[in-house]
Assembly symmetry: C2
Homo-oligomer: 431 residues x 2
């Protein structure tokens, strides 16, 4: 079954702050307008992440490159930060490691502690560095690359065999270096921003080396794109998510959007979504006012023991998006014969997957009994097609939400000042 | 140098929503009252986590047990969830793995995917299972233990040599099983709740096996306890944190408290703090109203590329607590001779630690230029003593904040319903 949304607990029949049938009609009309506006911007080429056909050739280049790489690498390391890293991290958590493919590492911070530990345990002559920066000028990533390059050169290793760039097809320092030094480089299309780039080589190149099924990921994404071609709110999953979350914020004061996968493999979809939602929507709006919800990443069942108390009894300013997996493995079972305390006697003959799933449902019901809204997104399993659906679903929803919040979901004007101040501080201090 | 707080950017001289000198005097008086109330409750034995002297004998038992364990284990696995896991995870991230001590794993979820993968790669005859549940009745943990026990028994391995419990000294199913089956068990004092238990065997037993310096952790915690004996707001670090965050929420509408370590090793202090802050303060208050701030875990510099846009331009409902490390390693340097793009020329001769530190400072300055408050907590380094200081600092601050929000910081009454509903769902479904 394709990805589905249960929105019953967002409705007035379930919670006091919910959507009434009258309001639903109003929201459906509003979404129709938003859908039209987004479709128009899409036709104008604003949303490159939706142009999967245009990506097909580059995706094929990626797969060919990984299949015929210069050597068999033991380790593949992504150097990237923010949107250049979070997609690869989400995919790695979802699909894990195979015995016959290189280990995939993602270095997404400049903490010397982490980087040093990684450098110490890599065999440089069997390692590929994927340097990801759309602008080609990300300080953190270029600083790390400079250190790596120095080690490669000192070791007499070929840069072109051990480094690949993922960057703008024309502009920026990385592209220039690639041309100068003959380093293979893959394209992030100019109309695809970092946080929307997981289906470009930013995500597909690490995925291809790790052995993930890139074709199925893209197929799932395409299916979701097709489903979201309709202006009918009830039939458009991304429209439903965007409309209900925006409305919860603007009309019911639920400004914190908790995104809570009940799944360890899907846990890192949460920080990926947090970046997408926060950086796209946290903006000055068309009236010049600060706008944007606060996304909060959580993980079930674990965070029932961390956040649930606040969700149940704290301020009613949150809505929870559960992410459930329909088909958990059923093979880790508490043996029927095992001696267990009375408190967990009901677990005899039950699997951990059943427990996890029961907890997700129970938490939604507990919230509704406290008058707190939630919605549940369900994917069939942690397979490539389902992940492709899920990622595309969340990206399209973000663009719709931008139109509803009346902010430009692209760009991140608010982060430039901190970059400049950091550069100035380092330039000022005596060397 | 001991842990210190820079609160300048919380003041009216820095940000419009800041504390004026007059208000500071008022807050200092108020904190004096809170300090007295907490001291009184402490004398009455409510806050067992502050009674480090009373813990000393059990800590010694822990260290002796780890030093003279039944065998040399290759792997030590903590089975625990929420407060039974987050402290061990924070310590493991901080101190890492040593070559001559067992690998430390923490299984803090019931996802079958994760657990199965771990079971498949462990040598059971060289593994110790630390089962942590204060109540002794945590469903997730007991279900996992039942599965492990079955494997141990089937393999003819001695439970008493491969399992240790950490639980209430008298009450609960785990204690009863320990007595029945001769399983070693360590005590969580009845007056120490899960989220305040990191300095009890919940944290110290995994730490001892991993080779961390438990004595220094406790010494740092004791030093912080001593510093917080004063009712003078300016001299009491935990008082300062609690007072400024509570005031930001109640008087300036800054209900989201972002906790942002600029450090990979300290990253998991953030989710530990999130649980502490959310579950302790997210409560019905003395007036019967929903209360509590929303803590949000972040990590610098990475999340400058994720959350900073929202922090700069989104709603002014947040305050950021930076956590900085004074002494980053300075040995990963961009070589002066290395060819780097103009955009990062300033990094020549600079270390990654300098960059990370410059980014923390620059982000605080960027926020203040947008009128957004922040405070900075600085620890000397990622050493056992500093971590002990930090953890105790945050636990004491939580208790002070409870008094300010007028909620009981102990207990978590809001989570019981979800547990009951999950149990009922599993009991109902046909086996």
């Amino acid at each position: 079954m394709p990805l589905r949304i249960d929105d019953a607990r967002m409705m007035a029949a379930s919670v006091p702050s919910g959507v009434s049938p009258t309001e639903w009609n109003d929201l459906a009309i509003r979404f129709g307008e938003v859908h039209a506006a987004v479709a128009s911007d899409r036709s104008a080429g604003r949303y490159g992440f939706m142009e999967l056909d245009a990506q097909a050739a580059e995706t094929k280049r990626v797969l060919d490159y990984a299949a015929h790489a210069p050597m068999r690498y033991t380790d593949v390391v992504v150097l990237g930060i923010g949107g250049s890293a979070l997609g690869a991290i989400a995919l790695r958590s979802a699909f894990g490691a195979y015995d016959d493919t290189p280990r995939l590492h993602v270095v997404d911070n400049v903490d010397p502690h982490t980087f040093k530990a990684l450098l110490a345990r890599l065999a440089f002559d069997r390692t590929l560095w994927i340097v990801v920066s759309k602008s080609g000028a990300t300080v953190e990533t270029l600083a790390q690359y400079a250190i790596v390059r120095h080690v490669l050169v000192a070791g007499g290793l070929s840069i072109a065999r051990h480094v690949v760039f993922v960057t703008d097809p024309v502009a920026g320092p990385l592209r220039a270096i690639a041309l100068d030094e003959g380093i293979p480089a893959f394209d992030v299309p100019p109309n695809v921003g970092g946080r929307f780039s997981v289906l470009t080589p930013v995500g597909t190149l690490p995925a291809a080396f790790a052995g993930y099924d890139v074709g199925a990921i893209v197929a799932g994404a395409q299916a979701m794109l097709d489903r979201c071609n309709t202006p009918a709110l009830a039939d458009n999953p991304a429209g439903l998510l965007a409309t209900l979350l925006w409305r919860a914020h603007q009309r019911a004061g639920q400004s914190t959007h908790v995104f809570m996968p009940y799944s360890d493999p899907l846990r890192d979809v949460a920080p990926w979504f947090v970046q997408l939602w926060a950086e796209s929507l946290g903006k000055t709006d068309a009236d010049g006012l600060p706008a944007g919800p606060t996304p909060l990443a959580a993980r079930g069942a674990t965070d029932q023991h961390s956040l649930l108390q606040l969700l149940m009894e704290g301020p009613a300013d949150k809505v929870v998006c559960f992410l459930r997996v329909a088909n958990h493995a059923r093979d880790l079972m508490v043996p029927k014969s095992e001696i267990v305390p009375d408190a967990v006697a009901f677990m005899r003959g039950r699997s951990l997957g059943e427990l996890l799933d029961a907890e997700a449902g129970a938490t939604a019901r507990a919230l509704v009994s406290a008058g707190r809204p939630s919605l549940t997104i369900t994917v069939d399993g942690v397979d490539a097609y389902s992940i492709g659906e899920l990622l595309m679903f969340l990206m399209i929803a973000t663009v719709y939400a931008g139109a509803m919040y009346r902010v430009d979901p692209l760009g991140q004007p608010g982060v430039e000042l901190a970059k400049r101040l950091a550069r100035e501080a380092l330039e000022r201090s005596t060397q």
